[in-house]
Amino acid sequence: MQAEKKPQQQQNLLEIKGLKKYFPVGGGSFFKKDNTYVKAVDDVSFYVKQGETLGIVGESGCGKSTMGRAILQLQTPTEGEVLFEGQDISKFKPKQLRELRKDIQIIFQDPFGSLNQRMTVGAMLSEIVRVHRIVPRSEELTYVQKLLKDVGLNPEHYWRYPHEFSGGQRQRVSIARALAVQPKLIICDEAVSALDVSVQAQVLNLLQKLKRKYNLTYIFISHDLSVVKHISDRVGVMYLGKLVELSDKHGIYKEPQHPYTQALFSAIPDVSVQEKKERMMLKGDVPSPLNVPSGCRFHTRCPLATEQCKQEIPEFRETKDGHKVACHLV
């Protein structure tokens, strides 16, 4: 909150300008390639300030994860700039990228697939520590065991294999792996989605504790609106590869401005009996990212769509202090 009031004083740790990631579709014949693309991420711009948590929400397939990977350069962006501490990392050479991995880390969704089954947890963490020369070799074991303690595991877990852990514990191992290099920014790509609700809460609390302890910045990608609300300072909403609304948490959850955000947030289950929320139902399905609608991408499902929405792409502009929306009607 404090941070939101004085946005100018805090440094932008990460800034993304016009990020695009298109995937070619293997259509056409052998000789004549079809030039169709899946526009997974299409012209997204935002910034993340040092020390904050930016939540990114959206339906499955809206490009959230692809965006996370494009920021990390795990998938080379088709277009656009990714400025980390002022440097455009999308132009980095492999060697510079490896160095960059010390600063930006990722926690994956699947706690089963993201750990190498053949390696003990300790071997895996030590390898990273050694490759980046985080601590001298003699202190490696102590350092990694401290990491394990930090994420709520036992030092003895150093010698265990991933399959000996529960889902929640594995996710803690993933967090330890991300922390091992002492990063500044961690992208949590659906980091708690695969976990039980009770374990989710534990892991979320752990992430917040670590954030305070190590002064971390998070980009928290999730489809779970309540989780994002709980952890984020600011929230961005994505629809079909585009950011439709971005604001601080209280602004966006109290007064969503974009019709899509309104519909999305009205779907959050509510337990309170007093106020009965009006549920906004959307018609139809999300259009295929292969063939995105003209103009505003949401116009096919928007209850308020006008002729203008069908033709002009709405600009992503600031409507209030720090509240950005891409809609003609706002």
Binding site: E99, N116, T120, I128, V131, Y161
Partner: protein, 296 residues
């Protein structure tokens, strides 16, 4: 080992390397068939190495007074059509057959594994249009015909036969490993490795390769079996081991003309080929399971 663990005992932490090794050994010895396979494999290797000490007769000495004798106390496995002691020949034949199996598969692994790993990991033009099409071309030949052609070009003899068999086996390994690598490179643990800033070679060798070990192991043990048989075929056709040196394949071939009169000539080398192949397979399975930490 005692000294190494002593320091750890004081801290009440068992030495993890020793623990891991113990767990591995435990997994191996639990599998009785694998132990049996391993025992026979080593017995055969031992036999091959100390052949000259073990054999009761000279394997190439012909004795026309004792032609096609059935097994007896003097000639345990009988004698062949020119009076050579089959037991001695089988023992010496182990040298040839084991060499043929191990070395030709070794060649195939040495060439196939790196190419398969690189091809599968990097994909692209070289993988798609050069390496894959080349393996297709090689696989389109019947394996024995290709081995025959290669051996003929290289010249007769055991070494050249092993090289020829190795080359013929290679495309199978390339394709198998490439397919495995392609399946694994999309997995999140590989992506996580990249995100951790690991170099490609480290991801390929330390992360992907151990995960593809199981099918490689199975394929290799099966290939040893087929290499032994291929060497036998080449010897039969005169391109492998040169007479009078004994090789199980050549003996089997010699014996087939006398199957009704003196079945032991073909029977004993046949039994040994069978036992060798089976033992190596069981042993290989055991090693595969031993290396898999998921199995308790």
């Amino acid at each position: 080992m005692e000294q190494a663990t002593e320091a750890n005992v004081k801290q009440k932490i068992p030495n993890p390397r020793v623990e891991m090794f113990k767990a591995m050994m435990g997994r191996f010895f639990q599998n009785k068939l694998a132990v049996l396979g391993g025992f026979f494999t080593f017995l055969l290797i031992f036999m091959a190495i100390f052949a000259s000490v073990i054999v009761p007769h000279d394997p190439i000495e012909q004795n026309y007074s004792e032609i096609m004798m059935s097994p007896s106390a003097d000639h345990w496995f009988g004698t062949d059509e020119i009076g050579r002691d089959i037991f001695s020949r089988v023992i010496y034949g182990a040298q040839v057959s084991l060499q043929a199996g191990l070395i030709s598969v070794g060649i195939a692994l040495a060439v196939g594994v790196p190419i398969g790993l690189i091809s599968g990991y990097y994909r692209g033009f070289w993988d798609e249009f050069v390496i894959m099409r080349f393996t297709d071309a090689m696989l389109s030949f019947p394996p024995l015909v290709l081995a025959l052609a290669l051996a003929a070009v290289l010249g007769a003899g055991l070494e050249n036969a092993m090289i020829a068999i190795g080359i013929v086996l290679t495309p199978n390994f390339i394709r198998l490993i490439r397919a495995e690598v392609i399946a694994h490179r999309e997995r999140e643990y590989v992506e996580a490795g990249k995100a951790s800033g690991l170099r490609d070679w480290r991801i390929i060798l330390i992360h992907i390769l151990p995960n593809t070990l199981a099918p490689i192991m199975v394929q290799a043990t099966l290939a040893i079996a087929s290499a032994i048989i291929s060497e036998a075929s080449l010897s039969y056709l005169g391109l492998g081991t040169q007479p009078p040196d004994p090789s199980w394949g050549a003996m089997l071939a010699d014996g087939q003309g006398y199957l009704s009169d003196a079945p032991w000539i073909a029977l004993f080398p046949g039994i040994f080929i069978f036992i060798t192949v089976l033992s190596i397979n069981l042993f290989g399975d055991g090693i595969r399971d031993m290396l898999d930490p998921k199995l308790k």
